[in-house]
């Protein structure tokens, strides 16, 4: 099966305050349509790994492949484009642009990509909101909706450019169990219905147990 994301011998060091070897020889991959979670104690380097995978952190050794193409060493403009087109993010804190409406938040990455007309983008955005059952909120200001709703808006935004993979950094970490279940169900549905690949960092065992595969990390190394 096609590998959406793959790392080969990734090492990462923190230089401040003292030299610290955070990630040691990481070799993982995510296949198309797979729903993978990364588990581990705090400080084991799982988030650090996620941000390397996200292409936002370029300070590492080793090689990173997206859709079986090497993206290590590309310049920042190319990386921005890759993030825009192929990667969707969902963070623990919802990170919406609070001054924009829900709809505008969802549309923004597509407007940046500028592959479709404004009408198409707006139609797509409304479709995504409908999938997540928050289309009623479209015109509300992003700062005026509840935490669970915000997280769903963030998921809609991550989906807008039909990315190859969605990366989540504790996407349920800040939600109550009802909303957590809700978000998990959404991810699961996307994975099954649309064949979307997902890689989610979490320390919620219930959440992880229900995913296709768990990558367990400890002290910067992959356990299994």
């Amino acid at each position: 099966m096609k590998k959406v994301l793959e790392t080969k011998h990734v090492h990462k060091y923190f230089r401040k305050p003292v030299l610290f070897h955070v990630l040691k020889d990481i070799n993982i991959d995510v296949k198309k349509g797979e729903f993978v979670s990364i588990m581990g104690k705090s400080g084991c380097g799982k988030s650090t790994l996620l941000y390397i995978l996200s292409t936002m952190d370029t300070d590492y050794e080793g090689e990173l492949f997206l859709n079986e193409e090497l993206i290590t060493g590309q310049n920042n403009d190319v990386l921005s484009y890759i993030r825009n087109k192929h990667i969707g993010f969902v963070f623990q804190f919802h990170y919406l642009l609070s001054e924009f409406s829900v709809l505008e938040n969802v549309m923004l990455p597509a407007k940046k990509l500028a592959e479709k007309s404004l009408e198409e983008i707006e139609y797509d955005a409304m479709q995504k909101l409908k999938i997540l059952e928050i289309d009623k909120l479209a015109q509300k200001r992003a700062s005026r909706i509840s935490g669970g709703e915000k997280q769903r808006v963030a998921i809609a935004r991550a989906l807008i450019n039909n990315p190859a993979i969605i990366l989540g950094d504790e996407p349920t970490g800040n939600l109550d169990s009802y909303n957590s279940d809700n978000v998990f169900e959404i991810f699961k549905q996307l994975s099954i219905d649309q064949g979307l690949s997902l890689l989610v960092v979490t320390h919620d065992i219930d959440f992880a147990d229900r995913t296709d595969r768990i990558i367990e990390m400890s002290d910067g190394e992959i356990l299994y």
Partner: protein, 420 residues
């Protein structure tokens, strides 16, 4: 790759949601530019008025026949004493005519020069004004009234009557305001003029003249060139002074040197004659620019400050934009365009306010003896100032926005997303 529509839309949303801060920043620019326009229009207006006062009525080159001792004494010509040390006591100037020799051909020659706007003759004479039993010493200058008006704005100093009145009346006189006041004379009255030789001529007062300098107004009067020549009993080639006005004032010094050499006359250029005035003008201009630049720099720092604050507040937005695929350059452009929008809006408002204030100043009454024709404060609404103003607004906001936006470009989204 840059998608301006999206970037401007984000910039616009940021500016509108932080309307208070935006308007404070824009007002900073508005006041800076407004004050600059007002100040520079007013100051240059005043400068121009002072220019007119001193420079417009003074000739660029004044040619006359100076009475002075010969530079080369006869003993210098004597071969026998060539190598000796010579002492000559009690040198006196040689008796010579006070008129300019061959004045009319010289005037014709000067008028043919391309750089000369006009060269006109004057006859200066010492006379007495007689009213009843009072005799007042004074100067009577013969002029060509219409030419004086054309080249030296002579009409600006005539408070009653006009140059044409003098031109039409062969027996007319433009009496100094001080003289008129002393002898309680007015337009339409007659005044007796006595030459040094004692001959008396009655002249009709066609106008009053006021230069603003009391010492001049108390003695000086003007009449037609021919009238003075007639009073003095001289022919019409009797001319004591030639006033030259040039197209380009800066060549005055060189030209005066040439005239001295060519015609063996004394020629004084305007810069030599008004050296302190020139210095004063330069210093006033320097003050104007120093104050304006200070104002604009202060406004620039205001923008810098507010954008800096805005970027700290928008850290999360910056991180999220970067995470969703906006490049550092896009983020920089978002903040740069915010700075420039503030600059344009503030700058244009500043131009309007400056224009309004300058026009208001122009209506304020300002009466001075020195310039009888000026009734309100002078302003100089030169379009150049408005161009400089808006350019400076844009340049200063550009730099004020550049540094903070550079910072926004470099912000590491990972640190912010993980830091929370």
């Amino acid at each position: 790759m840059t998608n301006w529509k999206v970037i401007l839309n984000i910039a616009k949303t940021h500016l509108l949601t932080k309307f208070k801060q935006t308007s404070t920043a824009a007002l900073g620019v508005t006041f800076g530019i407004g004050a600059y326009i007002t100040l520079v229009c007013f100051m240059t207006g005043l400068n121009k008025m002072l220019d007119d006062l001193i420079l417009d009525q003074t000739p660029h080159i004044h040619v006359y026949n100076e009475i002075e001792p010969s530079k080369q004494q006869p003993v210098d010509l004597y071969e026998e004493f060539k190598n000796s040390f010579k002492v000559v006591h009690s040198i006196k100037p040689k008796l010579s005519q006070s008129k300019i020799h061959n004045a009319l051909p010289i005037i014709k020659y000067l008028n043919e020069d391309k750089n000369v706007r006009g060269a006109i003759p004057q006859v200066k004479s010492q006379i007495f004004y007689i009213a009843g039993s009072i005799e007042l010493g004074g100067n009577l200058t013969g002029i060509i009234p219409l030419e004086e008006a054309r080249l030296f704005n002579f009409q600006n100093y005539i408070i009653k009557g006009s140059t044409t009145d003098l031109h039409k009346n062969d027996n007319g006189i433009l009496l100094g305001a001080g003289v008129a006041k002393k002898m309680s004379l007015d337009v339409g009255d007659r005044v007796q003029i006595s030459t040094i030789d004692g001959e008396i001529f009655p002249l009709k007062i066609v106008g009053l003249f006021q230069s603003g300098i009391a010492d001049i107004d108390n003695i000086q009067s003007f009449t037609n060139l021919k009238t003075v020549q007639r009073i003095l009993g001289e022919s019409d080639n009797y001319i004591t002074d030639i006033n030259v006005k040039l197209h380009d004032m800066s060549s005055a010094f060189q030209m005066s040197q040439d005239i001295e050499k060519q015609f063996k006359l004394k020629a004084i250029d305007v810069e030599t004659a008004n050296a302190q005035f020139q210095t004063g003008m330069t210093i006033r201009n320097m003050i104007t620019y120093a104050v304006s630049i200070t104002l604009l720099i202060v406004a620039g720092f205001g923008i810098y400050n507010i954008l800096n604050m805005l970027i700290y507040e928008k850290m999360n937005d910056i991180a999220i934009l970067k995470a969703t695929g906006f490049s550092g350059k896009d983020v920089q452009m978002i903040f740069m365009s915010q700075a420039l929008i503030i600059g344009i809006v503030g700058g244009v408002l500043g131009l309007i306010i400056g224009y309004g204030l300058a026009n208001y100043i122009n209506t304020l009454p300002f009466e001075t003896e020195a310039l009888p024709t000026i009734k309100t404060l002078p302003v100089n609404l030169n379009p150049m100032f408005f161009i400089i103003g808006i350019s400076f607004a844009l340049i200063s906001t550009f730099f004020a926005g550049y540094l903070p936006s550079k910072k926004a470009k470099k912000i590491d989204p990972v640190r912010i997303i993980r830091g929370q």
